[in-house]
């Protein structure tokens, strides 16, 4: 195979193919998004067995294997459980657009819930972010029923 070694190693490019998907949000996520869009408010759901409140709302409590029908309104405020500031961009497969860097992903313990919830923080300097700090959401004026109807979270003033 001497000749092969002398030639280029080719690759086959798939091209810019897109594959559209139409995922059903389901009852629970639909309610979650509608509350965000119409009422600027976050909701979770409560398990009738273990009484834990989870966000995002989902149909079945993973621990108890029981359907959760109780929707709980949340204040939207919470404490910072953890965060990271990302310095690398990648092409978001949903938008096809490279995310601008740096950006801060955070796990937020929303008041009244028993898990954490991931979203962005406005602040991107790690020195200015403290685990445990109190946070509140900043809502977009024009909302469409999407996770990013909340632009990001910012510190609650004076806390």
């Amino acid at each position: 195979m001497e000749d092969v070694k002398k030639k280029e190693l080719l690759s086959v490019y798939s091209g810019e193919a897109e594959q559209p998907f139409e995922w059903s949000a389901g009852k629970y996520v639909s309610r979650f998004l509608v509350e965000m869009r119409d009422n600027k408010r976050l909701v979770g759901c409560k398990c009738p067995k273990c009484k834990k409140v989870l966000v995002p709302p989902r149909r079945v409590c993973g621990e108890c294997f029981v359907q959760m029908d109780e929707i709980v309104t949340l204040s939207g405020e919470g404490s910072l459980y953890s965060f990271t500031v990302l310095n690398f961009g990648f092409v978001d497969p949903d938008t096809g657009i490279q995310r601008p860097v740096p950006y801060t992903c955070a796990n937020i313990a929303l008041d009244g819930t028993d898990c954490t919830w991931a979203h962005y923080l406005e602040e991107t300097d790690p020195a200015k972010i403290k685990i445990g700090m109190r946070l509140r959401p900043v809502w977009e004026e024009n909302r469409r029923g999407h996770l990013l109807d909340i632009k990001h979270f910012v510190p609650v003033e004076g806390k």
Binding site: V12, S14, S24, A25, G26, R58, F65
Partner: protein, 379 residues
């Protein structure tokens, strides 16, 4: 082989588009149904096997979407990406290993969500074949033509499969498409890719299914008598279509041979009471008759014409309506297995095969039925 049997089954209604439901909703539905059917609780389930496919779901690690829906938290869990019968086989092996008394196997698919031709095009080799635009329909059409040429099978004989299975579906409340057809209707339906017409092809389907395996000890807790796995085999042919004799299915012969040997079957036509086989396209049912040894090579059309595989015939095939009536890819093989269980239990009201004690379930993977999995179930 130790005994392992199915003690619970559940299926959704198969539909063209389940708009209001997520994968999670469908899996929760069938898990609850299977548990109710078995008279067991989620705590009686020792481990879980899920069946899903990243391309159809539009999610890598597609198993992640359904875990809580099948009660898998704090349990061993794994995922087979392939037809449901393969997943069911893995679930049975986990019981046979002695590590678990029960396995819950669930499968889901929402074929309505994206583009079937793009998804099935992705099974072709990206270097040599994909750019040709082959998909499940066009590649199967080539196989159908090769089969016709090799053995003189006719479009009418294909059509008879469609007539039979769509009519059988009338007795299956969960089937998607039940129709009273004539051979003419099939031959006049829209041409998809020569020689395959619309009514030769399975529909686009959303659905999910679940089965619960149990060993002898765990089965005692279940409501109903288990339907035992008597024999099983799987095997894959070559990959590139040009490396295969598309008119024949040696991998099916191999898979069935293993299953039959384990089950003590040397005359399938006599010893099987019913068969549920993967008719993704009408011609496939005829080809699989041959691979399964129901007739000699090339004899699929003749067997169909003789009426042997009709309801009331010597070996009814696809009393459920088969894949032609509902084909949630991946789920469909599990649906075949579930129908076998219902038949052996005597619970297939309206389409019950008389004195049914031994049933055969069959599923396929890959282009043109490259890989086959055969399971023989019985009392």
């Amino acid at each position: 082989m130790d005994k392992v049997g199915i003690v619970g089954v559940g299926q959704t209604k198969y539909e063209r588009k389940k708009v209001g439901e997520t994968f999670f909703d469908m899996i929760y539905e069938v898990t609850v149904k299977a548990l109710d059917d078995a008279g067991l609780t989620i705590d009686d389930i020792d481990n879980v096997i899920t069946v899903s496919n990243d391309f159809w779901d539009g999610r890598t690690i597609s198993s992640m979407a359904v875990q809580d829906a099948c009660g898998s938290r704090h349990k061993d869990i794994s995922t087979v990406e392939g037809d449901g019968v393969y997943g069911a086989f893995y679930g049975a092996m986990r019981v046979l290993s002695g590590s678990f008394g029960t396995t819950l196997v669930v499968a889901h698919n929402k074929c309505s969500q994206s583009r079937m031709n793009q998804i099935t095009n992705a099974m072709f080799d990206p270097i040599y074949t994909r750019a040709l635009g082959l998909d499940a329909i066009t590649s199967s059409a080539m196989q159908a033509r090769a089969y016709m040429d090799a053995f003189g099978i006719t479009a009418e004989q294909f059509a008879r499969v469609s007539v039979k299975n769509h009519k059988n579906a009338k007795n299956n409340p969960l089937a998607q498409i039940a129709l009273d057809l004539t051979v003419e209707d099939v031959l006049k339906s829209r041409l998809l890719a020569d020689p395959l017409r619309l009514l030769d092809a399975s529909p686009i389907t959303d659905g999910a299914a679940a089965v619960i395996w149990a060993n002898e000890a765990a089965a005692r807790k279940a409501k109903k008598a288990p339907v035992w796995m008597k024999g099983v085999g799987h095997m894959s042919d070559a990959y590139h279509l040009g490396d295969r004799d598309l008119a024949r299915s040696p991998a099916l012969v191999g898979a069935a041979g293993k299953a039959y040997a384990m089950a003590g079957i040397d005359d399938p036509l006599k010893q099987l009471d019913v068969a549920e086989i993967y008719d993704a396209f009408s011609y496939m049912e005829l080809m699989w008759y041959e691979g399964l040894g129901f007739c000699p090579e090339g004899g699929g059309g003749k067997l169909m014409d003789a009426g042997v595989t009709q309801m009331g015939g010597d070996l009814p095939v696809n009393p459920s309506g088969g894949c032609l009536s509902a084909n949630a890819v991946l789920v469909a093989g599990l649906a075949r297995l579930i129908e076998c269980v219902l038949q052996v239990r005597g619970e297939a009201a309206g389409r019950q095969v008389k004195d049914c004690s031994t049933a055969l379930a069959h599923g396929i993977n890959g282009p043109c039925g490259q890989s086959h999995c055969v399971m023989v179930m019985g009392k």
